[in-house]
Symmetry: C2
């Protein structure tokens, strides 16, 4: 019997399900173990040290599932903690920042790239570095948009207030004449409708989920690790807290209902929570 | 030498500093140890089980400081976890929900009381219970306002968007003709200016910080535990994460700069974080 080694993925919460969705469409035979740190989210307002410590704890948990590859499906954790995570494990680790930067470089015509994300992602400078290490003459204009995640979690993805907030945040980037805008947070693809109303015509919105999925396939393929088994693929979904509206939000991100969500405590032991 | 036993306080973050501020003005001789769980905030979107577990961990930490009284300066933790916390310790525990309910009952003339708070606080029904156990004929109308905390943390306390969000949230409460509105979250006193523009004239905004401070003084005085020492009072401020804009936010809440903030890790051991 062939041993099925899953892909391990994590995010501060469930925004990374946009990446899971893209991966499961691109490599549909792979099994996936996903961890959302819903007890401690968000990461985007917290320090590098704390985000790195949380990431290390989660990677240690994922490693108990014997994964063949780790996807850091969180921009903040990718921006802050990728080197530390790569030093912890001897399997490939794919973040979302580098694929997003590469995709933006492919679509830009004037080499002016915008990046929006959490305060932590923007202050880390990770996208700037990823873009300019590949193309030093490219210019990066970035803007932290801390209200986007709360607005999305409130379900206001097409609310007039969200449009107004987006206009406020993107005013400066528009003046910089960027022609590619990296959605540097896994929640943001849900705001595409609003963002398209705010950016100038012709600006390409770069969703790192698709690019990350492409990168995952390339790495697996390059190492001869693509699943060939006839055993049906599985997705296991772990969260550190099952809060009031989480199931609803999960369905909003995935577009379909998840049959069973497992909850773990701070020691990463599975627990039963009431009322779920 | 008289042993100085401090007051122990905690909140999910630093919003509880509005309560610390009120207490330190009402009982200025008391020393205070404050813990803000900035690594795991917010609590208001998380489950009862998780909020209670976090609260228990923090109370165990505070108890190592030998406090004479615990103040749960967080509406969500007060709403979800007060009975569990009271069962853990043999010192008085004061939450913010009961003082807020009592204050609202003192000021209402038509017995129609509005409550705004986090989703968790509102869904807990704690204010409804606290009001109706004291005055069964009083009516409580409540509304979760999940965007207020992110707007405040973005510094948009008098931004047009915040006014629009407040109008949206409070529309229903206005129609219910409440004449007292409980600010059921320690962040909300910073929105008083905006809220006053949105509520009907004559509606009293009830800030539980002041009421909680009054309750703390009453309990201490009733038990003969008020500090009489001539040793100058001290405030110790602990947080579980020192993130990018925290010092700025702390000054916004307190109105003055804090000389030294101590940071603890997940085992509640003091650590040094870079770049603070």
């Amino acid at each position: 019997m062939v041993e099925v080694r899953p892909l391990g993925m994590f995010d501060s919460g469930i925004g990374g399900l946009t990446v899971l969705d893209a991966i499961s469409r691109r490599v549909p035979r792979e099994s996936i173990v996903y961890f959302g740190d819903t007890a401690r989210l968000p990461y985007g307002t917290k320090s590098k040290e704390t985000v790195t410590r949380f990431s290390q704890e989660i990677v240690r948990f994922l490693m108990t599932k014997n994964p063949k590859l780790i996807v850091v499906a969180c921009n903040t954790a990718s921006a802050y903690s990728l080197p530390v995570i790569r030093s912890m494990v001897d399997i490939p680790v794919v973040g979302v920042v580098e694929p997003g930067a590469e995709a933006a470089l492919r679509v830009t015509r004037n080499n002016k790239i915008g990046v929006i994300g959490t305060r932590a992602t923007i202050q880390s400078g990770a996208y700037l570095e990823a873009v300019q290490s590949r193309k030093p003459e490219a210019k990066v204009f970035s803007k932290a948009c801390p209200l986007f995640v709360p607005l999305i979690e409130e379900g206001w993805v097409d609310h007039p207030v969200t449009l107004e907030v987006a206009q406020h945040y993107l005013e400066h980037l528009a003046a910089c004449e960027v022609d590619a805008l990296i959605l540097g947070c896994t929640h943001y693809p849900l705001l595409k409708g609003v963002l398209e109303q705010v950016v100038r015509p012709g600006v390409v919105l770069v969703d790192s989920a698709e690019e990350t999925a492409r990168e995952v396939k390339e790495v697996l393929s390059g190492k001869g690790m693509l699943a060939s088994s006839l055993i049906g693929p599985q997705a296991e979904l772990y969260v550190s807290d099952m809060h009031l509206n989480l199931r609803l939000q999960i369905e909003r991100f995935l577009g379909f209902a998840v049959p069973r969500i497992k909850v773990v405590n701070s020691e990463f032991e599975e627990v039963e929570l009431q009322g779920i």
